[in-house]
Structures are given as C-alpha cells and as structure tokens.
Point group: C2
Chain length 203, copies 2
C-alpha cells in the first residue's frame, strides 16, 4: 500500500480529556501511516516564503500540511467554532500562495487532493443540534469551517466525527466514543467526501 | 436622553486600515455616549470571579461588557469568521456564570437587554456571498457568530455592517463606506434587532 501521511492539528488544554484520547486513538490507529519524523524538509518555493515574511514556525506547519494526505482537526467546540488557538493556526498557516491563490480556491484550491476531517466534542447534546433544537442543524455551524476554510483551500472534506456532550455521558458511553472513532479510522481511506459546495452542502 | 454605553471590540493590525477608520467613526459618532473612562468599577459578583479563577484582564473586559448597552465587534473577516484574537476574546471573556448559565441562554442569556453588532470588511465581493456565489449567502457564515455567540448570550443582534472588498474599491467608494456607517450610527438606537432564532434566522 502506498504510504499515506496524516497531520493531526490538536487543540485542548488537558491531555487526559476526551479530545486528548481521540487524538491518541487517531495517532495509534493510523500509526503505521503516521511518521512525523519522516517529514521531508525539502525546500518548497512558496511565494510567501520567498517574500521572507513567514516565520519558521509557520513554514514548519506548512511543510506538515504539504506532506499530509489527511489533516485531522481535533478540538472541543467553543462558541459554535474551533478554539481561538486553532483559528490562529488557520489564520497564520493557510496563507495565500500556500493554501490558495486566487483564482485557485475551492475546487482548485492549492490543497486539493488532500483530505480534511473535523473531529470534535460538543457541550450540548445531539438533540440540541437539529432543526428542532435550540442550536439548529449542526451543518450550519460547520459551514464556515468545512466550506469556508477546508473546501476553500481545495481539501476534500470527510464527514465530521462528533462526540456529543461527553461531559454528560457515562464512562461506558465515553469509551464507546473512542471505540467508534478507532473503528472508523480503520477504513478512513475508503470514505467518500461530503459535498461542500454552495449548491450541495445543505441537501 | 438616558446615557447609553457602547463597547467596541476591535481587531486589526493597522490603525490606518478601513477597519481602523470604521472603528474611529463609531467612536466619534457615538462619542457623546462613549465614556470608557466612566466605566463603573463597582464590585460585581460573578460566580467565576468569586472562584478567583479569572485573571484581572478578563474581569476588566467583563466589566466593560456589563456597562455597555451596545457592543460593536469591528474586524476583517478571516476564514468566514472573526480573527483568532477576537475569537480568543469570546472564548475567554464570555464565560459561564457571566454571559450564560444554563438554562439561562439564548433568549434568557445573561447579556439580554444589550445589543450586539458585527461590523466587518470582506476580501471577496458582494456577489460572491449570495446563493449564486461561490461563498454562499453571507447569513450562513454569520450564523455561528450571530446565533451561536451573540444570541446564545442573550444579546439582541442588530443587522451586520458589511464593507465588501474594500481592497478592490476606489478611494471614493471607501469613503462612502465610512460615510454610510456614520449615517447609520446616528439612528442606531432606533433599529430593531434581526431574528436570530433557529426558526426565524434564514427566513
């Protein structure tokens, strides 16, 4: 099998959190594919880099993205979105000339041929995130991230992995969340992306 | 007239930017109402504060929100959302016990009886943010902020002030953007909020 690389962008304060465990499962499950130490640090001629305006930490992050076939974003949902520290990663890493370069955006975004997946935990229960719930269909809040960021950069977006309200779940239910994630990852490469285009996303 | 207070939360690197000017206009236009030096530093008994878990900078921000009748968020749209530094303000300032305290959320959020308004600039043109455009109806990307943050905390949300693609506008058009904002602010207190509930937002 062709070797494939996965980048996991992870934001949580507590390694022992469910988010920490979900991240660990992804690392373990994909471990034969996950060789961060083998990232190729070969010179890449990004425009922004050429301008000398990017700091070394960004260039390193961009190299990781460039090497990855799949980027997993693991985070607790804060305010219907990702935590600020992860938003900072988006704002700083996915610069023009690297992730997109008009008109190279959306289907022709510079990160096309890569997969992206949002894996997150919520505070509220599943029933809250529906058309009948107070928070509305969860696809609405995922729109800016899945369409506005991932799709914009050209990523093919896999269905999100959502653990609803782990704080209110039993230990058994929390373990099941981890097991499900592990099971899904076994066949992750066979999954088909969701439709993130304006005319298909909400259908 | 009763004195009313406005808090402007502003995020932009460059004071001379359009965002900087929009912020300045709001300060000037509302200046007879805007007395940051008069914020009452009287003791407030927030639960989180009582726990001693909040740093002084957060308590100061919460005091400003508490004193405000209207909170204006002024920012450039980054990745279909606010810049990370402003998201950090949301994540850190709007804590449970201050902005909401289940079941006190949405219509009964702790910041009810206050107004909130998103004022921002975009990279793309207006035609891109429509059902026919590649970025979709702009209400979709505003949903997490207007519904998921503002409405959740109880704010009544005024229509957003949007300056589309100032980078591609003529100087005259940019001036007009500032003039329009100033004009709008003259009667801002008479405006009726938009519907941010699940069953009314997209209608």
């Amino acid at each position: 099998m062709t070797e494939r690389k996965v980048l996991i962008v992870y934001a949580h304060q507590e390694p022992k959190s469910l988010n920490g465990s979900l991240k660990t499962i992804a690392v373990e499950e994909l471990s034969e594919l996950y060789h961060p130490e083998q990232f190729n640090y070969g010179v890449e001629a990004w425009e922004a880099c050429k301008n000398g305006s990017l700091s070394e930490d960004l260039i390193k992050e961009q190299r990781k993205v460039k090497e990855a076939d799949l980027v997993i974003f693991q985070f607790p949902l804060y305010w219907f979105s990702m935590p600020a520290i992860m938003k900072g990663w988006m704002d700083r890493v996915l610069v023009q000339g690297f992730a997109h370069d008009f008109p190279q955006c959306y289907d022709s975004g510079l990160l096309k041929n890569k997969l992206a997946l949002l894996s997150f935990t919520t505070g509220g229960g599943k029933e809250m995130y529906s058309d009948e719930g107070v928070s509305g269909d969860i696809r609405y809040l995922l729109w800016p991230m899945q369409h506005g960021i991932m799709h914009f950069c050209g990523f093919s977006v896999l269905a999100p992995q959502i653990c609803f309200a782990p704080e209110y779940a039993t230990e058994e239910e929390r373990v099941q969340m981890l097991v499900s994630w592990g099971e899904r990852l076994k066949t992750i490469w066979e999954e088909k992306p969701i439709n993130c285009a304006v005319d298909g996303y909400f259908k």
